[in-house]
Amino acid sequence: MALPRHLKNGLTPLEIEFLAENEPIEIAAAIDTRQDLELIAGTLPPLRPLQLSQVPLWLAISLKKKHKCSIVPPQWMSVESLQKSLSDEQEHLQFSTLPYHYMETAQILLENACDDIPSPDSVRKLLKDLRETRQAKARMGVAELDASNVQMDNIGLMEINEIRPFFTKAFYELQKLKPAGQALDTFGGSTQDYGGFDGTASLGSTLPETSRFNRSTTHGSRGDAR
């Protein structure tokens, strides 16, 4: 098929990382481009040495790898901020407010710009604790899973991805167990007709209406619980 099977359960972690790389971040350039950067996503003003600029994360990393910039880590990634998030996380049932791409951004920065991050080991440790606390919350969501709705504000995209296949499949199977009366119409109410039966094997349609036999369609006993 045009899309390999492993891509059919939502996005892959790499794709989510790719999306996070579109997010803006602040850098101090060590290069003078002397010209606008005319990107397809829009034009960036020239990068000047030691001047702070907002650029997409992917661009920041690309420059960083060539030692052409240093990255200003976002406020929420500071030790104090993460400590506060962690205590919020442990105190409340809801997810604490972290950026949608917090896991990806943090991992990309720790991997490629570790020297720009103050006390990276504490940051790593805090992120790990945060992640574990939040993971447990995400899993708890399963208990609320019903055929109506589940609300999960502030969950990160990578966290969603981790539980998505399980949640969506479970949701679908639950609906199948609902009694027939609650069964859902097939396609927005309009039944599609694709020709139906023909030939003799399907003689349902070649027979005259049942009224000919003057017989109601209820027959056979409906089994009961025993």
């Binding site: 390999p4 972690p13 790499l14 990578m158 499949k169 609902k178 036999f213 006993s221 089994g223 619980a225």
Partner: protein, 189 residues
């Protein structure tokens, strides 16, 4: 909602159930493995669910029949599921316990059974989910043996996605792999 090409759905219907016809039917004795010609009225016979469903639901009228609720949806099992759903060994009862239940509920009226199945399914979800995140723990395999086919598929899906995030966390991505590697990886998963 059912898909024509869904193998799981096809297999879930392949479950024998007990039926009784109210009239004798010449020419169908072989249904109960008999040598004679006539299938006698009142004989209790085992037929696949996929056949029973079409016979009992036929709009033009066929011989009246009765379908029995299988033992694995009987009082004993229901009580067990109500008490502690996670310890019930479902595949021992019926490999497609829930999916077959969904099919079966379409032809009989038994709201209680629907409730029991739905609740049991929900009760077991949390435990199954937890196991997807602790793959390889000692008590995992024992619990997994008690899962029915639908739950197994769920477990597999959950394990795959949590493993892929874990792998990403370990920085083991980013390198282009050959198609062979990708296919091989999937086989091992």
């Amino acid at each position: 909602m059912e898909d024509y090409y869904d193998i799981d759905s096809i297999l879930a219907e392949d479950q024998n159930i007990k039926c009784v016809f109210h009239r004798s039917i010449p020419g169908l004795a072989w249904l109960e493995g008999g040598q004679d010609d006539v299938l006698k009225a009142g004989s209790r016979i085992d037929i696949p669910f996929w056949l029973a469903r079409e016979l009992i639901g036929h709009p033009q009228g066929s011989v009246e029949m009765e379908i029995e609720t299988p033992d694995f949806y009987g009082t004993k099992v229901r009580n067990g599921l109500r008490a502690e759903a996670t310890v019930v060994d479902l595949p021992k009862l019926c490999p497609h316990f829930f999916r077959f239940g969904a099919h079966f509920l379409q032809i009989i009226e038994d709201p209680k059974l629907g409730e029991v199945l739905e609740k049991a399914f929900k009760d077991r979800l949390q435990t199954t989910m937890d196991h997807t995140q602790s793959g390889g723990m000692s008590n995992t395999t024992e619990y997994l043996q008690r899962l029915d086919e639908t739950e197994r598929e769920l477990y597999k899906a959950g394990l795959e996605s949590s493993a892929s995030v874990h792998q990403w966390n370990q920085h083991s991505f980013g390198r282009i792999r050959s198609a062979g590697e990708v296919l091989l990886k999937r086989k091992l998963a």
